[in-house]
Structure formats: C-alpha cells, structure tokens
C-alpha cells in the first residue's frame, strides 16, 4: 500500500515545504500539497499534516482564521472518519481553534518568541505517533513560537493526563505551558498537536534526527493497519 499524505498550506505557512520533505524522506509515497482555499482533500489520504508558520498573519488569534478556512472543514471531516492528522506549531494552534484538540495556545509566559532546541520527554509511547520512541525517552526537538503556552482548565488537564493523551512534555521551562505539556492527542488517538518541530530533526545534517521516529511511527502504524 502506497502511503498517501497531504500537507496543507495556508497563506503565511512557512514550514510546509520542510514538512513535505520530511514525509517524503521518511514515509515515501505521494505527498499532496493542498491550498487552504480547496474545499476538498485528495482521495484515500492516510495522513494529513498542518505545518508551522503564521497563517493569516496570526490575525485575531494564532490559528483562528485558518481554522475557519474551507480546507479545514474537510480536515475536520477526515479526522472524524479516523484519518491521521498531525499539527505542528501553528498547525497545533489551528487544531485547537478548529476544536479537534482541547485547550488553547496563548502568548508565551515570558512574552518573547522562543526559538531554540528544547528537551522533550516522550510521555506516552503507545500512540500511533510515538510508538517508535521508548516511554520516558528524552529527545531534542526545536521550537520556534510566540504562542505556545498551552492552557486548559484543571479538569481537562486531569483528563488528558489520566487518559494518556499527553504525548510529549517539555523537560525544561519553555513557554509556561500548563503542566509542561508540549503535545496532546485527541480522545481517539488519531490527531496529535505539538509545538516542537519534528520535521526539523529528520537527519544528522539538521543537527539531529530525534523527529524521525515520529514519522516512522505513523507510517508503520498506518501501513500495518
């Protein structure tokens, strides 16, 4: 079975090419590039990735405008059918704004844009996205964001932790995120949003390859399914 994926580009996305290259190199198959104004997605998608960037100039709130764009209606329907969806950085913000993931991403607690490699702990290695990591493994992945401060009420945070839906946690202070949450899964486990950029850590030339296992996990999980 050929792996079929789509990377969505919004006006202001700037990590869409990196994401497409990472998927091509690690997963192979066909990577479709889809524009935000498209009302339909390609048929038979295994995987949809929402890339980082500053969609619509972060107007109103980060991800708010993109979440209401035509293509997102199709992404929401696909996610509800069980298609695997990854949102990185601005993509994570879009997923929360679209209601596919709980919580919200607020301005970093320190106000400043944070752009550096950070240490993450793999909190749940039983998910489709993280099966290639060891439980508790520490990995290094870069972040580059202004609005990465994850917020949800205590009941929601308790539920996310209780249900194993915290995929990654920061192993150091980064942006003030509640309970150091760096990435969360939806209740069905087919949608992951994370602020760090795994697509920027695919091979040694990028300074490390700790992001590679995420894409390998998705591909193995879906091809085996």
């Amino acid at each position: 079975m050929a792996f079929t994926s789509a990377v969505i580009t919004f006006p202001g996305s700037n990590c869409d090419r990196d994401m497409a290259v990472a998927i091509e190199q690690v997963c192979g198959g066909t990577v479709h590039r889809v524009w935000h104004g498209d009302a339909d997605l390609p048929d038979n998608l295994d995987f949809i990735a929402l890339p980082g960037g500053f969609s619509y100039g972060d107007y109103l709130r980060s991800g708010a405008m993109a979440a209401r764009s035509p293509v997102m209606q199709a992404v929401v329907r696909a996610a509800e059918r069980g298609v695997t969806v990854l949102g990185v950085c601005n993509g994570f913000q879009v997923l929360t704004e679209a209601g596919l993931l709980p919580g919200a991403l607020m301005r970093n607690a320190g106000i400043r844009f944070v752009c550096r490699d950070v240490k993450l702990t793999v909190e749940n290695n039983q998910s489709l996205f993280t099966a290639g990591y060891d439980a508790g493994q520490q990995i290094t992945i870069p972040v580059a964001h202004h609005d990465g401060n994850f917020f949800a009420d205590d009941a929601t945070l308790d539920r996310l932790e209780g249900e194993g839906r915290v995929a990654f946690r920061y192993a150091e202070g980064v942006n003030g995120s509640a309970r150091n949450i760096a990435g969360v899964l939806n209740d069905r486990g087919n949608v992951l949003g994370m602020m760090p950029h795994p697509e920027r850590m695919i091979e040694a030339a990028q300074g490390g390859s700790d992001g590679r296992a995420l894409f390998e996990s998705v591909m193995r999980g879906l091809v085996a399914a």
């Binding site: 709130r61 708010a64 209401r68 919580g103 607020m106 301005r107 917020f151």
Partner: protein, 77 residues
C-alpha cells in the same frame, strides 16, 4: 447598526501581555497599578435586522475563543 464586541480573558487565565504592560507602567513611574488585563475590541457595522442570536454566534464561533475568553456585546444607541 454599530456593534462593539469586547473580548476579555477569563478570570484565572494568565495574561502575559497584561503583566508586561503592568511592568511597563511601573517602569514609567506610575504607582498604585494593582493589575492589568489586556483584551480586544472589535467594532462591527451590521444590518439593523441582525439578531442577538446571530451576534452571539459570531462571537462564540470566531471573535472569542471560549476556552480562554469571554465576550460582551455593546450596541450603539
């Protein structure tokens, strides 16, 4: 009809921007500022026939993020 939507952070939600403004005010020498919360005002010009329900929906579907924000609608007299 002119409508003003005031979007504010919910109580208990940390407001880094408000805190930075607070520090800046203190840096300018203004004493006695106890707290600062930053919000957003959105002015709409809508058809006079626009219902309150439609305005509410505009706010809850887009203008405010109900996870972290509240909104208030003021209609110009």
């Amino acid at each position: 009809m002119k409508v003003r939507v005031i979007v504010t952070l919910k109580n208990g939600v940390l407001d880094p921007q408000g805190r930075a403004i607070h520090h800046a005010l203190e840096g300018l020498g203004f004493a006695g500022v106890n707290d600062v919360r930053a919000g957003r005002v959105i002015e709409l010009d809508v058809a006079d026939t626009t219902s309150d329900a439609a305005l509410d929906e505009m706010c809850s579907k887009l203008l405010a993020n109900m996870v972290i924000e509240n909104y208030r609608i003021e209609k110009a007299a």
